[in-house]
C-alpha cells in the first residue's frame, strides 16, 4: 500500500477550489476530485469555456469564477474531473470512479466541498416532463448556451428565481409568467433579521436591480400564488394556480421551479456525522467547527454543503479549511494560519449575517413543505405525500420506517429529492419537531456503482496500484 495522499478535496466549486488554492500555496500535495467534466461547481459551471457573449449575459458574479481556476496551474495539484465519489469512510478512504474504473485512495485529510442543490418543490404534477429546476435551466444556459425561448413559466420563490428570469430576458428569451409563491406574511416575519442583512447592502441592491429588470420586461408577474398544480398529459401543458383571489391557467411548454437551495448532505450523512435542523431555511446542516472540521478526525466540510451561505462565503470557508489542513499537515504554523485567516473570518461573518433575512424572507410556503396528498414526493419509487401520512397512521415515527413501509428514498437518488419533504410530512402529521423526526440513514454507495467496478476492488485495498 502506498502512502496516503496528504489532502483530498472533493468538489471543484468555489469552496473546493479555494481550499485547494490555500493548501497548495502552502505546499500541500492535493488531489481535487470533481464529478463534473469542468471545474467551477454549479455556480461557475463551464466558466473556463463560456464565450464572452455568454459571460456577459450571466453577469459579473459569474465572471468572478474565472480567477478561481488559477489553482489548477499549481504544481502541487492533481485535478481529476468526471470523478464520481461514491464512498468516503471515517478512516478517510475515498472511493471513486473515473471512466468506469473504480479506485480508492487514503488521505491524511479530506475537505468535502460537495455543495448545494435546489430544494425540490413538490406539488401535484411536478413530475411531468418539461418541469424542471430554474437552476437546471441556468445550468443549460451556462454550459450549453440554451435559452428558454418559447415562453417559459417560472414559479416559486428565492433570489435565484429572479436571477434566472433576468438572465433569460437579458439573453433575449421570453417569459410567459413569473409566478411567485412567497407567502405574503414572509416579509414581515423577515424584518427582525433586516439589520444584520444591512451589513451586506450589495445583496439588497442586486435584488432591487433584478426586480426593476423584471418590471421593465412587463412579463406577467403573479404574487402570493398558491394551490399550484402542473397539468398535462405526456408533458407540461399549463400551470394552474390561485393568485389575487382568482384561479389562473397559464399555458407553457417549460415550467421552471425554484424554492431556494439546500445543502447536499449525502456525504456527511453517509459518514454518520451529526446534523442539526435549521428552522429558518428549513434544512439540515452538518455540525462543524469554525474551520469546517467535523467530529471525524481529518474530515472537514467547506461551502454550501455545510449550510447555505452563498458562493462568496463558500470561497471563504474553502480558504479556512485549506489553511487549517495546511496547518495540521505541518505546512503552516498555527500563527501563520491564524494570521492568514483573520481577514477571511471577518468577511465570512459579514456574509453569514445576511443569511437569516433571506432564509426567512424566502422560506417556502407550507404547500411545498407539506404537500397535498396526491403529490408524488419520492420521484424514484413514486410514493405520494398521502401514503407517507398513511404510514404515520401505522405508527411510523420517522423517515426510516417510512422507507421500510413504502420504499420512499430507496431509489437511485437515495432520498436526495424526497428526504426533506418526507421528514417534514411526518413531523406535521405527528405534531413533532423535524429535529426529532430525523432523516434517512444514508448508506454507501452515494452514487451508483456497477458490480464489476466493486468486484474489481475485491483484492485491492486503498492506494494499491490498479
Amino acid at each position: 500500500m502506498s502512502d496516503p495522499v496528504p489532502l483530498i478535496v472533493i468538489g471543484a466549486g468555489p469552496a473546493g477550489l479555494c481550499a485547494a488554492a490555500e493548501a497548495t500555496a502552502a505546499g500541500v500535495e492535493t488531489l481535487l476530485l470533481d464529478e463534473q467534466t469542468a471545474p467551477g461547481g454549479q455556480i461557475y459551471r463551464a466558466i473556463g469555456r463560456a464565450s464572452p457573449e455568454r459571460q456577459a449575459i450571466l453577469g459579473s458574479d459569474y465572471g468572478r469564477g474565472a480567477r478561481l481556476l488559477e489553482v489548477l496551474d499549481s504544481g502541487c495539484l492533481d485535478y481529476r474531473p468526471s470523478a464520481s465519489v461514491w464512498q468516503v469512510t471515517p478512516e478517510r478512504e475515498v472511493y471513486f470512479t473515473i471512466a468506469g474504473q473504480a479506485q480508492s485512495l487514503r488521505a491524511e485529510r479530506i475537505v468535502l466541498a460537495s455543495g448545494a442543490m435546489e430544494r425540490p418543490m413538490p406539488f401535484p404534477g411536478w413530475t411531468l416532463p418539461g418541469v424542471m429546476g430554474a437552476g437546471a435551466a441556468q445550468t443549460l444556459l451556462k454550459s450549453s448556451g440554451l435559452l428558454p425561448g418559447g415562453g417559459a413559466v417560472l414559479a416559486g420563490s428565492g433570489p435565484l428565481l429572479f436571477l434566472v428570469a433576468s438572465q433569460i430576458l437579458d439573453a433575449g428569451g421570453r417569459i410567459a409568467a413569473l409566478v411567485e409563491t412567497t407567502p405574503r406574511g414572509n416579509s414581515m416575519r423577515a424584518m427582525p433579521y433586516l439589520p444584520a442583512m444591512l451589513r451586506m447592502p450589495s445583496y439588497l441592491t442586486k435584488g432591487a436591480v433584478l426586480l426593476a429588470r423584471l418590471r421593465r420586461a412587463k412579463a406577467p408577474h403573479f404574487k402570493g400564488a398558491h394551490n399550484l398544480s402542473a397539468q398535462g398529459g405526456k408533458r407540461i401543458e399549463f400551470l394552474r394556480f390561485t393568485a389575487g383571489g382568482r384561479d389562473h391557467d397559464v399555458p407553457c411548454s417549460l415550467l421552471l421551479l425554484h424554492q431556494g437551495v439546500v445543502s447536499n448532505v449525502q456525504i456527511t450523512r453517509a459518514l454518520g456525522l451529526a446534523h442539526d435542523w435549521k428552522p429558518l431555511p428549513r434544512a439540515w446542516q452538518p455540525r462543524l467547527d469554525p474551520w469546517g472540521g467535523s467530529a471525524l478526525e481529518g474530515i472537514a466540510m467547506a461551502g454550501d454543503g455545510g449550510g447555505i451561505f452563498g458562493a462568496r462565503a463558500a470561497e471563504l470557508q474553502g480558504r479556512l479549511a485549506g489553511l487549517d489542513a495546511a496547518y495540521r499537515l505541518g505546512k503552516l504554523t498555527q500563527a501563520a494560519r491564524d494570521a492568514k485567516a483573520r481577514s477571511v473570518q471577518r468577511a465570512l461573518a459579514a456574509e453569514r449575517a445576511a443569511r437569516p433575512f433571506l432564509d426567512r424572507l424566502y422560506q417556502p410556503a407550507a404547500e411545498f413543505l407539506n404537500p397535498a396528498d396526491e403529490t408524488l414526493v419520492c420521484r424514484c419509487e413514486e410514493v405520494t405525500a398521502g401514503q407517507i401520512r398513511g404510514f404515520v397512521k401505522l405508527g411510523c415515527l420517522g423517515p426510516n420506517q417510512a422507507k421500510s413501509f413504502g420504499r420512499a428514498g430507496m431509489g437511485p437518488c437515495q432520498g436526495r429529492v424526497c428526504g426533506l419533504c418526507v421528514s417534514e410530512i411526518i413531523a406535521r402529521a405527528r405534531g413533532a419537531d423535524v429535529q426529532d423526526v430525523g432523516y434517512f440513514r444514508i448508506r454507501p454507495p452515494i452514487k451508483p456503482v456497477t458490480l464489476a467496478e466493486l468486484a474489481a476492488m475485491a483484492c485491492a485495498g486503498p492506494n494499491d496500484a490498479k
Binding site: 478512504e93 480508492s104 421500510s404 413501509f405 437511485p412 437515495q414 423526526v437 454507495p445 458490480l451
Partner: protein, 370 residues
C-alpha cells in the same frame, strides 16, 4: 400509561407476528417498540422463506422451518386480505450456489446427513453445472453447481412487516412506540412495563431481538443472544432474469436485485465496509456474469440475532408465569409458525409440536456454549 392483557416487547417481524397471532387467538395485545432509529433486523434482511441447510445441528429446527414454509401461503393470504398489500410470496424452490466442487460436495454431504437424521424425509437435490444451467440459464462458467431445495422461497419482508402492522392495528391492536422498554418488573399480578408508573400487563412476551438479552433476566428467562452483522447490496431494478431465489442473489417482485450477505462478528456496528461490499460483488458476478454492469444503489448492514447455536429460543418463564420469550434470527421464514402456531401456545394453548422443548434455553445451561 395503560393496561393490557398481553404486552409484546418489540415491533419487528417476530413481535408483530406474535402479536398478530395472539390477537387471532382472541387476546388483547399492546406492542411496545423503539423509535425510528434502532437496531432493526426487520428492516435489514434478505426476504428468504428458507428451509435448506437449517437444522444441521438440531433436526427439530429443520422440522420447524419446513412447517413454517408450509404454513406461509396461509399466512400470506390472510395478511393480504387484511392489509390489501401484495406480499410477493413465491415458493418455487431455491438454490444454494457453489463456486467450487469442494464446497458443493461438503454441502451435499451435510444435507445428506441431515436427511438421514430426519429418517429420509428431507427433500433436496444436488445439481451439477449443466443441470443447474437448465433451471438458471444466467449462471456463469465458474459455478460448480448448487443444492436445490424445493420448499424454499422468498417474500417482500418490508411489506410483510407493514402488512402485519396494518392487520394488527386494523383489528384493534395497539402500538406504543418511540422508546425502548428500559425495564420490566414482575408484580403480584402481572407485570409492569417500563419505568414506574409504566404500563400494566397480565402477560409479557419478549420479542425484542438483541434487547432480549438484557430484558430476559428481569422475568426469570435467559436469552444469550449476540449480534452477527450481515451486509447486503441493493441493485437497480432489472428485467426478470432470476426465476428462483437463492442464498446469495435474489430478484424481488419489483425487479430489484439483492446480493448478500456477509457474516461478521463486530458487535453492535451495523455499518458497511468497502471490503465486504467488494467481496459480495465479486461473488455475485462470478455466479451471474450478466450482473456485471448492473449498478448498486445502496448497501446496508444489519445485525442478526444469534443464539449460541443459531437456533430459536422459545421459553415460558417458570419463575414468573405469564412471561415468555421468542427470539430467532429467521423472523421471515418463521413468521408463519410464530403467528399461526407459537402464538396460540403463548395464548394458553398446548404446545403446537411435540418437539417445542427443543427450543428451550435450557439447552445452553447444559452445553459449554452457554
Amino acid at each position: 400509561m395503560g393496561e393490557t392483557e398481553y404486552a409484546v416487547i418489540g415491533g419487528g417481524l417476530v413481535g408483530m407476528a406474535v402479536a398478530f397471532g395472539l390477537q387471532r387467538a382472541g387476546r388483547r395485545v399492546t406492542v411496545f417498540d423503539e423509535g425510528d432509529v434502532a437496531f432493526r433486523a426487520s428492516r435489514g434482511n434478505f426476504g428468504l422463506v428458507w428451509v435448506q441447510g437449517k437444522g444441521a445441528g438440531l433436526p427439530d429446527y429443520a422440522r420447524w422451518s419446513r412447517l413454517s414454509a408450509a404454513l406461509w401461503p396461509e399466512l400470506a393470504a390472510e395478511l393480504e386480505e387484511a392489509s390489501g398489500l401484495k406480499l410477493e410470496l413465491s415458493q418455487p424452490g431455491g438454490f444454494d450456489i457453489c463456486l467450487t466442487e469442494a464446497e458443493l460436495a461438503a454441502k451435499a454431504a451435510s444435507m445428506a446427513a441431515l436427511r438421514a437424521r430426519l429418517d429420509g424425509d428431507y427433500p433436496f437435490e444436488v445439481l451439477g453445472h449443466n443441470r443447474l444451467r437448465e433451471m438458471l440459464p444466467a449462471i456463469g462458467p465458474k459455478v460448480a453447481g448448487a443444492i436445490y431445495g424445493p420448499e424454499d422461497g422468498h417474500v417482500n419482508p418490508l411489506y410483510l412487516l407493514r402488512a402485519l402492522t396494518a392487520a394488527f392495528l386494523g383489528r384493534g391492536g395497539r402500538i406504543e412506540n418511540g422508546a425502548a422498554v428500559a425495564e420490566i418488573a414482575p408484580l403480584a399480578w402481572g407485570f409492569r412495563i417500563g419505568a414506574a408508573p409504566g404500563w400494566r400487563a397480565e402477560k409479557v412476551v419478549l420479542c425484542a431481538g438483541l434487547g432480549n438479552a438484557r430484558l430476559a433476566p428481569l422475568v426469570g428467562l435467559n436469552a444469550p443472544v449476540k449480534p452477527n452483522r450481515g451486509q447486503v447490496l441493493i441493485c437497480e431494478r432489472a428485467a426478470p432474469f432470476l426465476p428462483y431465489p437463492n442464498l446469495h442473489v435474489r430478484q424481488t417482485g419489483e425487479g430489484t436485485v439483492q446480493i448478500g450477505a456477509s457474516s461478521e462478528d463486530v458487535g453492535l456496528d451495523d455499518g458497511t465496509t468497502p471490503q465486504a461490499m467488494a467481496a459480495m460483488a465479486k461473488q455475485a458476478v462470478d455466479m451471474f456474469p450478466v450482473l456485471e454492469n448492473i449498478r448498486v444503489v445502496r448497501a446496508w448492514g444489519a445485525l442478526r440475532i444469534m443464539s449460541p447455536d443459531g437456533h430459536p429460543i422459545y421459553e415460558a418463564s417458570r419463575a414468573h408465569p405469564g412471561a415468555s420469550l421468542v427470539t430467532c434470527h429467521s423472523g421471515v421464514t418463521l413468521a408463519a409458525c410464530h403467528a399461526l402456531r407459537l402464538a396460540p401456545w403463548i395464548a394458553g394453548g398446548s404446545p403446537p409440536v411435540p418437539y417445542l422443548e427443543s427450543f428451550s434455553a435450557d439447552r445452553f445451561a447444559l452445553s459449554p456454549a452457554a
